[in-house]
C-alpha cells in the first residue's frame, strides 16, 4: 500500500495487536516534535521543505513522540538524534541487536525483507516480534511516511540466558 508524502501526520490509533504489548498507545502522553530535542549523536539530515517524512516513536513508557525525518536516514539515527533511549552499541553496523525496534505491521510489509545479517542479529534480540527490525537497517522512504515504531522495553532485569535462544 503506497502512501503519499502529503498525507497528514499519522493519526493516533489504538492497535489491537499483541505485538504491541510492551508499548501502550496513549494519546494523552503525546509530545510535539521540537527541534531543540536534537541531541549530540546520530547523523541525520534536515528534510527538505515539503518532503518531511513523519514517524511516531512509541517509547517503552508508552509515550508517543512524533518526529520529522529526511528520506534515506535510518530509524536508529533518527531516534538517537531526538534523544530517545536507543543505544546502538555497534554504531549502526548491524553487529548487535541494541537498536531493535518493532514496526507497525501495516508498514512492515512496505519494507524490504531483512538481510541474512540483520536476521542473524534479530535472532539475539530480546522480545522479538514478527515485525521486529534493527533500526539501523531501516532507511526512511516516502512509503514509510506516517510509520509508527515501538521501542521495546530495555531495562527489564534480564538474565544473560534470555539471549541464548
Amino acid at each position: 500500500m503506497l502512501r503519499t508524502i502529503l498525507k497528514s501526520p499519522a493519526p493516533v490509533r489504538c492497535i489491537q495487536s499483541s505485538l504491541y504489548r510492551g508499548a501502550v498507545f496513549r494519546p494523552a502522553a503525546m509530545r510535539a516534535f521540537s527541534a531543540s530535542a536534537i541531541a549530540s549523536h546520530g547523523h541525520i539530515h534536515k528534510p527538505k521543505p515539503g518532503e518531511e517524512l513523519h514517524i511516531t516513536f512509541i517509547t517503552k513508557d508508552g509515550e508517543q513522540i512524533k518526529v520529522e525525518a529526511a528520506q534515506g536516514d535510518n530509524l536508529m539515527d533518527i531516534a538517537q538524534a531526538h534523544g530517545l533511549d536507543v543505544e546502538g552499541a555497534c554504531g549502526g553496523s548491524c553487529a548487535c541487536s541494541t537498536c531493535h525496534m518493532i514496526i507497525d505491521p501495516e508498514y512492515y510489509d512496505e519494507m524490504e525483507e531483512p538481510s541474512d545479517d540483520e536476521n542473524d542479529m534479530l535472532d539475539l534480540a530480546f522480545g522479538l516480534t514478527e515485525t521486529s527490525r534493527l533500526g539501523c537497517q531501516v532507511k526512511m522512504t516516502p512509503e514509510l511516511d506516517g510509520v509508527r515504531v515501538a521501542l521495546p522495553a530495555m531495562t527489564r532485569n534480564l538474565q544473560a540466558k534470555d539471549f541464548n535462544r
Binding site: C94, D117, L128, M154
Partner: protein
C-alpha cells in the same frame, strides 16, 4: 554530590556508568587494573570484528563527562583495598568480569598441549598477561577445540583464515607472524551436546561458512538431531538451515568439523604436542532434550593441540570476604540480588561477575542498565554525606583518561606504518613508557 566507584572498565562497567550519569548527577571514579580501558572489547572481541568494538566510541563519550575520572593501572585488592572503596564511596560497583577460564579435571588436561581459549584469545589480542605464552602453531596440523560457543568459533576462524586477511586488523604483529608460520590444516570443534543445543550464534557460523578456502565437513546425522529437537525456535531453525547448507567455498586449504555429543576423558601427549584425545560419547538424557549423560562408549582421535573453550570464570578479589561479601565459587559470581551484593549495602555487582560469563555485549548492556537503575534508586535512599572518594587514596602510579588518550594516539600512529587501525602496546611497561 554522591560518589560512585566502578571496578573494571569493560562493557559492564561503562554501561553501568552511562546509565547512572544519565539519571543522576554523581561523581564516578572508574578503577582499571591495566593502563588501558575497555576490557574484553579490547582483549576479547576478535580483531576481525572491529564493528563490535564500536561501543568504545560511546564509552569514550561517557569518559568525557566532567563527573568522570579514570584510575588506570590501579588494581583493587592491591593498590586500593575493597574496604577502602566501600568507606570512601556511597556506592561501589564491581564489574571486573571473568579473567580466568573454567578448567577441566580429566587426565592429561595439564599437559602443555592443552591450552585455554582465554589464553589464546588474550595472546592474539595483545593482552599483557598472555604475552609470554608460546603456542606450537608451526608444528601443529590438527587442532581440537573443546566447547562450541562463539569463543570457540573465534579461535577456529583465527586459525583457519589466511593470515594475510588479518593484516588489516589490529591483531598485534607478533600474533600475525606466528599465524603466518602456522601449519594448521584441520580444526575440530567438539561439543558435549547436539547441534541444536550448540552455543555459537548464527552470525559467527555464517562467517566461517562463507570463508574462502575453508570448508566444513558434512555433519554426521544432522537431520536426525534436528528431528529429535523439534519444534525449533526461530534462531535454532535458522542456524540449522545454515548447517544443512554447509560451506560455500568450492575448494579448501583448511577444513573444520563440528562434532557433537562428546566430552574429553583423557588427553595424551609427549613434549609440548598432544597425540590424541579420548572422548566419552554422550547420549541425551531421557525426558530432556538439552541435557546429556555419558555412555560407556568412547572414541579416540589423533590431534596435536587442544584448546579448552568451556567458559570464562570470575575470581574473588582479596578483601571481599572480609568486607562481608560472598563469592560463589562454582558459579564464579558474587552473591547478589538484582545487582545488590548480598549483605553489603552500597556494594553492587554488574556484568559477568553478576550474571556469570554468558551473553553478548547487548545482553551485558541491558543488564548493566538494570544495575545502573538499582544504584540510582539506592543513592536516592542514602544520606548525601560528604565522602572523600579517591581524594585520600594514595595512587601515584594511576593512569588518567588523558594518559590513555595519549597511549591510544600512539597506538594508532604505530598502526599507520603497518597499514592497520592500531598496533597495540602489548606489555604494561610499554604502555607506561608511552607516557
Amino acid at each position: 554530590m554522591n560518589r560512585v566507584a566502578v571496578v573494571g572498565s569493560g562493557p559492564a562497567g561503562f554501561y553501568t556508568i552511562l546509565r547512572i550519569l544519565k539519571k543522576r548527577a554523581v561523581h564516578v571514579d572508574l578503577f582499571e587494573a591495566l593502563p588501558v580501558p575497555y576490557g574484553l572489547t579490547r582483549f576479547g572481541v576478535a580483531p576481525d570484528h572491529p564493528e563490535v568494538r564500536n561501543c568504545q566510541e560511546r564509552f569514550a563519550e561517557v569518559a568525557g563527562s566532567p563527573h568522570f575520572r579514570f584510575y588506570g593501572n590501579t588494581t583493587v585488592g592491591k593498590d586500593v583495598s575493597v574496604s577502602q572503596l566501600l568507606q570512601n564511596y556511597h556506592a561501589v560497583v564491581f564489574a571486573y568480569g571473568a579473567e580466568t577460564s573454567r578448567g577441566l579435571n580429566v587426565p592429561g588436561s595439564q599437559l602443555p598441549g592443552v591450552i585455554s581459549a582465554r589464553d589464546f584469545v588474550g595472546w592474539y589480542n595483545g593482552e599483557p598477561a598472555k604475552q609470554g605464552l608460546k603456542f606450537t602453531l608451526d608444528r601443529t596440523e590438527d587442532v581440537s577445540i573443546v566447547g562450541n560457543g562463539n569463543v570457540a568459533l573465534d579461535v577456529a576462524r583465527v586459525l583457519l583464515r589466511q593470515p594475510d586477511d588479518l593484516r588489516s586488523t589490529d591483531m598485534p604483529e607478533h600474533a600475525i607472524a606466528a599465524l603466518t608460520k602456522s601449519t594448521v590444516k584441520k580444526v575440530h570443534i567438539v561439543g558435549r551436546r547436539g547441534p541444536v543445543q550448540s552455543a555459537f550464534t548464527t552470525k559467527e557460523l555464517r562467517e566461517l561458512l562463507v570463508e574462502p578456502q575453508v570448508q566444513l565437513d558434512p555433519i554426521v546425522n544432522l537431520t536426525e538431531y534436528i528431528e529429535l529437537a523439534k519444534p525449533l525456535g526461530r534462531a535454532e531453525k535458522r542456524k540449522m538451515e545454515l548447517l544443512l547448507k554447509g560451506s560455500t567455498s568450492p575448494s579448501a586449504q583448511r577444513t573444520w568439523s563440528l562434532d557433537f555429543m562428546q566430552s574429553p576423558s583423557e588427553f595424551k601427549g609427549e613434549g609440548d604436542l598432544l597425540q590424541s584425545i579420548e572422548w566419552t560419547i554422550n547420549t541425551f538424557a531421557p525426558g530432556s532434550k538439552s541435557d546429556v549423560v555419558p555412555t560407556e562408549k568412547s572414541v579416540t582421535t589423533p590431534t596435536d593441540l587442544a584448546v579448552l573453550s568451556i567458559g570464562y570464570k570470575s575470581v574473588e578479589l582479596p578483601g571481599m570476604k572480609e568486607a562481608g561479601m560472598t563469592f560463589i565459587k562454582d558459579k564464579g559470581i558474587l552473591e547478589n540480588h538484582r545487582g545488590h551484593v548480598t549483605g553489603v549495602p552500597g556494594a553492587f555487582a554488574a556484568g559477568w561477575l553478576k550474571t556469570g560469563p554468558t551473553g553478548v555485549i547487548a545482553s551485558t548492556m541491558m543488564d548493566a542498565f538494570s544495575v545502573g537503575d538499582e544504584v540510582v534508586s539506592y543513592l536516592e535512599s542514602v544520606a548525601n554525606t560528604k565522602l572523600p572518594g579517591a581524594d585520600d587514596l594514595d595512587l601515584p602510579y594511576a593512569v588518567s583518561w588523558n594518559d590513555w588518550l595519549e597511549i591510544d594516539r600512539q597506538e594508532i600512529d604505530r598502526g599507520k606504518s603497518y597499514g592497520k587501525p592500531r598496533e597495540k602496546f602489548v606489555s604494561v611497561p610499554d604502555m607506561l613508557n608511552a607516557l
